[in-house]
Symmetry: D3
Subunit: 238 residues, 6 copies
């Protein structure tokens, strides 16, 4: 039994609260247990310079943590004057993952900004961000459609993400902070609604992991992501 009473293949309680704030085209507060991330999707006409004139759209993502989202206060990146390597790594991952939901050539010359801001952190903030931002993106696309700004449907399907790990030689689904900081391996997996892999990022924290352990983690992730996608659909009323 795990710290919080879950079985090895059990997700934390998951919640998607849509329309959490009023200005953004898509605004979702996603909760994976005590991890809470506000994910917004904002639409702006126009695309970055390198994409102009091609009739295609773009999606980019940014990630941040409120200074006291964590157990001890983290220095504010705006005050430090730069984003950490970790932040950049995560926001690049979110961007790549969310772009997998779209056929950008059908988006018109629009840019979608995904902002994932961690209100409270308890492990798995990057995978919660991806899963929540996917729902916010759907809401933003509906805005575009309602405003007649799309002639084709750019959506190719949902994506969702989860973390898995190896602790004491056992594979665990959806690590919370206490598990994440003591496990041997941490693997983040992003998949499409259709069951394809978008990203696999695994890191041995202390000792290397075997091919079987890799297999066990991937299987656990596949099952977990299927559940998350079900929850996303429910939230969306699909």
């Amino acid at each position: 039994m795990r710290i919080d009473g879950r079985t090895n293949n059990q997700l934390r309680p998951i919640q998607f609260i849509r329309h959490y704030t009023k200005h953004a085209e898509g605004s979702v507060l996603v909760c994976f247990g005590d991890t809470k991330v506000l994910c917004t999707a904002s639409i702006e006409a126009g695309v970055p310079r390198w994409l102009k004139g091609q009739g295609k759209g773009w999606l980019t993502a940014e990630y941040g943590m409120l200074p006291r989202a964590t157990g001890t206060r983290t220095q504010r990146e705006a005050a430090r004057g730069k984003q950490s390597g970790r932040t950049q790594e995560i926001q690049r991952l979110i961007g790549r993952s969310l772009r997998a939901m779209l056929d950008l050539s059908k988006l018109g010359e629009n840019t979608i900004y995904i902002d994932c801001d961690v209100i409270q952190a308890d492990g798995g903030t990057r995978t919660a961000s991806i899963s929540g931002a996917a729902v916010a993106l759907i809401d933003a696309l509906e805005c575009l459609q309602r405003d007649k700004k799309l002639s084709q449907d750019p959506l190719t399907g949902l994506v969702a993400a989860v973390s898995v790990g190896i602790k004491n030689s056992e594979a665990l689904l959806d690590l919370n902070y206490a598990e994440d900081s003591t496990c041997d391996t941490d693997l983040n997996v992003v998949m499409t609604q259709a069951g394809g892999f978008i990203e696999i990022q695994g890191t041995a924290e202390d000792k290397s992991f075997s091919r079987q352990q890799a297999d066990a983690m991937l299987s656990l992730a596949e099952a977990g992501i299927a559940e998350i996608i079900t929850a996303q659909k429910q939230a969306l009323g699909w």
Copy 2:
């Protein structure tokens, strides 16, 4: 009658939700109408270098806006690599105002970090931040007391803040965004529980204001702040 149906001397609905997040010593979501700010107070042992060895404490504040707290997306300051002049001006104001709640010589060599992060903006974010952070600071001081880290009580009393303005020659209390962006003058006032002034910051946006108008605004602010302090006390169970 005002845009949202209020009378000139009426505050928006005010709410202080304590313990909004779980890690911070003090954590308050403050709502002034649609303006929502998460205010946390974090305690760290030690003081800045220039204060070491004097047995005194320190309090400093930082302010931020989530990129899509606003009607159109604002660029993330962490990504731009610096805080705007507006942000710095506001966080310096918050810091000065909150320090007025404390006798720092009774705080011991502890530093309190106030973080005010705007989740949703609809005018008056700086005055909501001060009013909410005051409550979070009280909660953080109680943590210090519970942990026996204080030998004296550093608290001198609450502070609260409100904006007032002149629109069409009439003084209005607690401007929302629509009012703020069209009024002639915007005055932010910070006061103590005992009725003393801490800060007065008034700016004529388009045309100058008269001495009578200044007087009218100050009177309106005095009454409004008294109400806010009552709401703070209620939230604190005082």
Copy 3:
């Protein structure tokens, strides 16, 4: 009697030396006692991107202190790689105050840069900057007129500024550094030639101030600013 022998309502000796440097369209060395600020007004054709095509002009201000304008050397902001919060707060104040002298819609697509650089500091550098820059701005506008670059007169009148404070419960006009660093409250006031208020910025340094004290300070400021405007007019030969 005050440290330097003045009465409570007495300004320091004030001087405006026009044409202090030869390149700028307006160049004024302003002295408020030992506080000496070089204020220049520079004209450039064109406006910032967000204002283009509207036929309107713009005015923006920057403020700096020479490293050894102060009693102990201050680190050079260019070497630190950023302007302090204090600097940004001050230059935003100067910009807002000086824009109150102009009807920007009559300026044509020109930008006026105000630069206030403190050569020697003895308290009140921001209010001296505003008062001196107002004179430099008049000289720069005359250059525009002489060069036939204006079809209408954008000038709406002079502005001037002064600091007032409370020390030992008495209101004092035009604080020098020794007074400024020991007073209880510091209030900066900016007014127009016509007697309207542009900015009021008051901060309780140590203990809060009462409504009566606020009133006393405002009255003192009104009288002081009237004297400064007289001195500006004399310097301009009006």
Copy 4:
């Protein structure tokens, strides 16, 4: 057959030129085909502040590309004033991978800096960097031993890395730039000499990949890394 005539499971010609420069404790020019990276390992007494007094060592890595290592010139990061997200992502990966070669508790309070600078890029610079830096690290450890600065052997074994990908539904080993920029999926794998996984980082560039494809890529990587480790040993005379 592939662009450059290789079979799907064939590495490019691999070369490790030790002692490539004279100052560094370890200095290896690694070539994977036309990809050439200079990897140095530098030893400095002392550890970062957060590790002081624990008797342990540290290893950190930095990565850079000469501006014209690439087909078109890339802006110099030192001139831009910051490292890109891609650079930070890569150097964090290199650091984590190389730390897996060491038992840091046996290194003493020494820090090893790994610098990987790409002289010429043709795909797979991060995996070549890891493989080359592993050899440089061995040379640096020998310096420490020769200088009697180690009481225990911190080395736990070699690591090596390779990229694999899916192109036209076939798994390919060790992608060059032309393959990398046109393939559907790109997976970077880091393994130990003992056959354990350290890192798996896979990204679907355009379309998602299946579980079978993931399996095929991992198998290809296992075989490829075994060959690279053989080449490392040869270069080291093991």
Copy 5:
């Protein structure tokens, strides 16, 4: 005859106004014609970290231009967030030149900061800065001596600097801006009171210069610097 009526070997009118501002230990406004630079020398106890505990002192220099010291406004370096390459080149030159006036081992663990801020520019700002800062440094050393902070005299003598150039194949002394921007070669020379060379920095702007021209410029500089040193001595009452 030159633009301003001087002969080829004639300096512009030179002036050293000591005690120009009141806070700095040494404060000199130096004028070379219309070039006016405020040079201050500030003393701080202590030395940079890399020099601690050696009983030696240090001298470092910074240089800046007020934004409107020039014919068209230059962007403020503090606002840009960095010093230009030109600024850094100049302040490094000033520092090296002024250190040549001192035996740092006799200065005690004190640091002298030289600040050269150009109030008005008309060519030769770096050489005026060096010549003026030399006088400010003497005044600062006297402060140290008056305060009994020196047990030995660290002064080894004055330095001074001048620019020379080639225009229409003729060597000219002390170029003003109009000459500087149209000449073929610009050479800056720094010498000691004893007639030794400290720095020679010559740049062919458009066409290269011959060995004879180099010789002619050096001779012109030697004579000019001797005159400047005479003026420095006069200003110092030596």
Copy 6:
């Protein structure tokens, strides 16, 4: 006899390895003894904004050192977030020197980027950079000619550079690091193929130098540069 057995007027072994990397239009590894610098010349269509529409070209240079090019590791400038004053000084020198090889009005609206990256440092990296970049520039110009992008020949001739110094009152040619760090004076000289001077930069490190010493150094540099130009021609097959 010198440390490495050379006579006072003897260069170190000099080598120019052309086509050292495959992507750049010009790519030369230059070796002056143990100093090794990779010099590339990259061509891009277009010119900086301030030069647009004049039909002229531009050349600019950047300089860097690999962190472990030196005896002890130097912090990576990209990680520090800015280039040092020394780096900027050197790259400005390289740019000015290389522009002396070209009649920019005959280059068309093209920009040539010179990148000099020090692989291994042993004194004289800036003069080696200039001498090597000159050869790379010739190769890049040939690319332009081969691609029919030039209607006129912009080349005016080669430049080369060398350092000279005074040690124990003797003038030495081409200082290595050990000599450079112990000599009294260090002079860098850049000359054209036709024997004209482009740059002279001399600095007295510890004691000033006399006019005779300046003359002796210049003569030594003239002879050394003639030899280097002969070596450049040989490498180019001229």
